[in-house]
């Protein structure tokens, strides 16, 4: 029997890892660093995929469970595990939420075959009538990206035109939709709780479809709802389409992503009519136009030399 105290401690430990980072790559890096930090080169490679799947489980609210000691395992304990066995099984238990006291265990089986690794997942209840889910991962394809995300090392030449963040997010969504979310839903059923169709339980691509229908402002506000939504609502593709929708197809190269381009452009557009009328005269009333903030990157955006009084506009009052 698992004591509640252990659960609480572990779930807050898991939360700590999850909570501190907002994006998938960051979260992965933290898990990798914690677990693989001192391992030597050859052994790391094989564990990377296992650990990456492990990270998705943690992110979805599962914790590893040791069947012998009937305890939640703190940390992945990579060092004590040696080389990757040909059939690895890991057990997990969902972090209890509310009435989730029933002891539900799920099992993941990792089967490497050449460059492929198939991960099977099912409820560990011994009955033959249980659903098994699986996802197949291509080690050759994924490991370079995982390594990159983990250690920020150089990508091989052939991969340089792809974005590791994008590849890793694709992996993340794939594992979550095909393996982890169905397991979570089954765990709910097993413990007698109804898993209502809620926004969280929709597959990620359907969530993205919905978010795409939002306006830029609504999309940005949705980031505040939860860390999962923040991660989804930060998708660069999404913001590119929001940007084009709002401001037309402009080449904006000086921003790190389309979201910040959108935010700055939005500030600029709301400011534009005023600049045009003020260009020839000192800006006596700028205090009211700006919400008392400095102008948002206008010179950088259009690469124009502003008149000196505009550069030093802070000196003009009244600023409240």
């Amino acid at each position: 029997k698992i004591r509640d105290g252990d659960y609480a401690a572990e779930s807050s430990a898991a939360k700590k890892v999850v909570g501190n980072s907002f994006s998938v790559p960051k979260f992965l890096r933290e898990v990798f660093t914690e677990e693989l930090g001192q391992a030597s080169g050859g052994r790391r490679r094989h564990w990377l995929l296992v650990l990456a799947v492990h990270a998705v489980m943690l992110d979805s609210g599962f914790l590893e469970f040791d069947k012998k000691s009937k305890k939640v395992v703190r940390g992945f304990g990579f060092h004590s595990r040696g080389d990757l066995p040909s059939d690895l099984s890991l057990f997990y238990t969902p972090v209890p939420r509310g009435a989730f006291a029933e002891n539900v265990i799920v099992v993941l089986k990792f089967q490497p075959l050449g460059k492929f690794m198939t991960v099977y997942g099912a409820l560990d209840n011994g009955s033959s009538k249980r659903s098994t889910y699986s996802v197949q991962l291509n080690e050759d394809r994924l490991v370079p990206f995982l390594k990159f995300v983990w250690a920020d090392c150089e990508l091989d030449g052939g991969l340089s035109n792809t974005s590791p963040e994008k590849e890793v997010s694709k992996f993340w969504i794939d594992v979550k939709d095909k393996l982890v979310s169905p397991l979570l839903i089954d765990s709910y059923k097993k413990s007698g709780l109804e898993y209502l169709p809620c926004f969280t339980s929709l597959p990620a691509d359907l969530k993205l479809n919905i978010l795409e229908c939002l306006s830029g402002v609504d999309l940005a506000r949705v980031s505040c709802v939860s860390s999962e939504l923040r991660s989804l609502a930060s998708t660069d593709e999404l913001w590119k389409s929001k940007y084009v929708e709002a401001f037309g197809d402009l080449d904006v190269l000086m921003f790190e992503n389309w979201k910040s381009a959108f935010v700055h452009m939005r500030d600029f557009v709301s400011f534009k009519p005023i600049t045009q009328s003020c260009l020839l005269q000192p800006p006596f009333e700028w205090g009211y136009c700006y919400n008392h903030q400095p102008p948002p990157l206008m010179p950088q955006l259009f690469n124009v030399q502003l008149p000196l009084w505009m550069q030093n506009f802070h000196n003009y009052g009244p600023w409240i």
Partner: protein
Amino acid sequence: MAAETGTPTTLTLKSNDDELFSVAESAAILSVTIRNMVEDGCAGGVIPLDNVDGKTLASVITYMNGISAIPADEEKKKSYRDKFLSDKDFETLADMVLAANYLNMSCLMDAVSAKIAQVMEKKSVGWVRRKFGIENDYTPEEEAAVKEEHKWTFEGVETDDDN
């Protein structure tokens, strides 16, 4: 197909809770999944739809019949869709978006997604959490930080009416 021969073909669809529905082939092929089955000639008997329950399938079929009765007029189709979705609650919408995805009906899928998005429009963060059953997994410090970063989005947000 049905329209050419003049004798409307009927398909029988079975939901995952074993309810049977008959629907005109011309309406059912709005679903690309079903259309592929018809074209492959394997729609003769009962078509089992393992991922859709009876309640959801009933409304999807209502939609299929309704929209296929409207001639090619985008305006009218759009207003039919709006009317069709106007009285659906969130759980029904979530079921429908899953069903539309499974049946590969892009028009229904887009309409339902837009409807769900419309529900979020101009709504406060807390309201979205409650309405969609989303757990707030931020720590108080993180939430303060993320709200500060997105302060510009809170202008004109409707105040909570159902605290």
